[in-house]
């Protein structure tokens, strides 16, 4: 029973994965003429639709879990339960309003514009301070060549991006602006291309291991 279930899951993952992957590279107009689905491309779209639905259901399960975790914290009055209570009230209120009135309603948009948007923007703004602190800490704690290259490049790009640190007129600025452009367009572009290719190769290998059922993250 257990082996049968596992084989079924593996077949499901491999089968749907291959159909979706074929859709990227093969365009066959008709499979059998009397088929319900006209082509691999259409079948791929159908399976992708199921996957999108399952992702939405998985999101729902995740939200339910979030609710349960904080509900347990509030009911046991554990450390920080008051914050959990705020989270539960905000979550339930927004979800209920969104389900009843729709996410485009004026009330939900009020919550979005007055709380979510400024909170997101302010958290991004905080990054300016935390990033600067992280840069200083790196210089203070790790003084090897790689760290110095990292911080030196960042400083050169900041100086060359002006205005602010230097006046945008004069030979001094144009030298740093030229150096910044060269660093960004040549050295960093080459490095970024290598990183992108490396990430792509790693993703392909990981994806193929799943498609060949070598890795089975859906359970044994």
């Amino acid at each position: 029973m257990k082996i049968g279930t596992y084989l079924l899951w593996a077949a499901m993952a491999v089968g749907t994965g291959i159909i979706v992957l074929l859709g990227y590279f093969v365009q066959i107009d008709q499979i059998p003429a009397d088929s319900l689905v006209g082509s691999i491309f259409e079948l791929r779209l159908l399976i992708m639709g199921w996957a999108v639905l399952l992702a939405a259901v998985a999101l729902g399960i995740g939200l339910f879990n979030l609710f349960l975790v904080h509900w347990t914290k509030v009911s046991r009055q554990g450390p920080g339960w008051k914050y959990s209570a705020i989270l539960i009230v905000a979550f339930v209120l927004t979800l209920m309003l969104g389900l009843v009135l729709g996410p485009d309603s004026r009330v939900v948009l009020f919550l979005f514009n007055s709380i979510q948007l400024p909170a997101e923007t302010s958290l991004m703004a905080l990054l300016a301070i935390t990033l600067s602190l992280a840069g200083f800490r790196l210089v203070a704690q790790r003084r090897d060549l790689i760290s110095l290259v990292f911080v030196g490049t960042a400083l050169l790009v900041l100086i060359g991006s002006g205005p602010g640190i230097l006046s945008t007129e004069g030979l001094f600025f144009s030298f740093f602006a030229g150096l910044r452009n060269w660093l960004v367009e040549v050295v960093a572009a080459g490095g970024a291309r290598g990183i992108l290719l490396g990430v792509a190769l790693g993703s392909i290998v990981t994806g193929l291991r799943v498609l060949l059922a070598v890795d089975r993250p859906y359970g044994e």
Binding site: W9, M12, G15, T16, Y24, F25, L36, L46, W50, A51, L53, L54, A55, A56, V57, L59, I61, L87, F91, T94, L95, M96, L97, G98, L99, G102, V108, I115, Q116, P118, A119, T121, S122, M124, A125, L126, L127, A128, L131, G135, G152, A154, L155, V157, S161, E185, V186, V187, A188, A189, G191, G194, L197, G198, V199, A200, T206, V210, L211, Y218
Partner: protein
């Protein structure tokens, strides 16, 4: 009593939230925590409402309202309605520890599709275009001087192109995908590969340095915008506008 416009209340609440979040500068505090928990709650509720309105309702509920149960017994309905319902129900088994193994079936579909999208997207979106761009860096138009082109300009372009190629290759060598293991468990590589890998590390440091500076500049702009917003709110309240 004059009616307070909704936009004004929205602005005041947004200003409070901004101050509460920015108060983190002086350290972790109650105001920051309240704002972040409020933010997580509202963002989660909003995400749930969006998922319901745009995906779950049109796929699982609306067809039932429009076509009734008869839709279930049509061949088309089985594919677009019955199977999604079954998959969603099986997925809900994940909520129960006792029945969660039955939820593996839809998870397998999700994983299979996800893996295929990652492989297909990586090949068509990154691997092929970036390889073509890397190969094009040393095309004859760049490698050979054009008619009437000054030698210094051609040389500058050629050196830049070579540097880009060296950067790409050395970074790829640094990301070693296969290497023999030495007795200590470390990777065994040739001396040339070691040199190129170290060079790759330096190019990665330069790339991350550029990205760091870009992120820092962008976030400084956002921080300035937040202060400008607070300034505008205070001006509006004081000015009574």
């Amino acid at each position: 009593m004059p009616e307070v416009p909704l936009g004004f209340i929205e602005m005041i609440v947004a200003a409070f939230i901004t101050v509460m979040i920015l108060s983190y500068v002086i350290g972790d505090n109650v105001l920051f925590r309240i704002a972040t928990y409020l933010f997580i709650g509202i963002a989660s509720g909003f995400a749930g409402a969006i998922a319901w309105e745009n995906i779950v309702k049109p796929t699982l509920v609306q067809p039932l309202i429009d076509g009734g149960l008869a839709k279930l017994f049509s061949p088309e309905g089985a594919l677009t309605f019955l199977i999604p319902w079954m998959l969603a129900l099986f997925m809900l088994f994940k909520l129960s520890p006792r029945l969660s193994r039955f939820g593996g079936f839809p998870v397998a579909l999700l994983v299979g599709v996800g893996a295929a999208v990652v492989v297909g997207g990586s090949i068509t979106g990154t691997l092929v275009p970036q390889s073509m761009a890397a190969a094009g860096t040393l095309s004859p138009a760049i490698a050979l001087p054009a008619a009437g082109e000054p030698l210094s300009v051609w040389l500058e372009g050629l050196i830049s192109a070579l540097l880009m190629i060296i950067a790409t290759i050395s970074v790829l060598i640094y990301f070693r995908f296969s290497a023999q293991r030495d007795p200590t468990g470390g990777a065994r590589r040739s001396r040339i590969a070691e040199v190129f890998a170290y060079l790759g590390q330096i190019f990665i440091a330069v790339t991350f340095g550029v990205m760091y500076a870009g992120a820092l500049m962008a976030t400084i702009v956002i921080l300035a915008e937040r202060f400008q917003f607070l300034h505008d709110v205070v001006t509006r309240i004081v000015g009574g506008a």
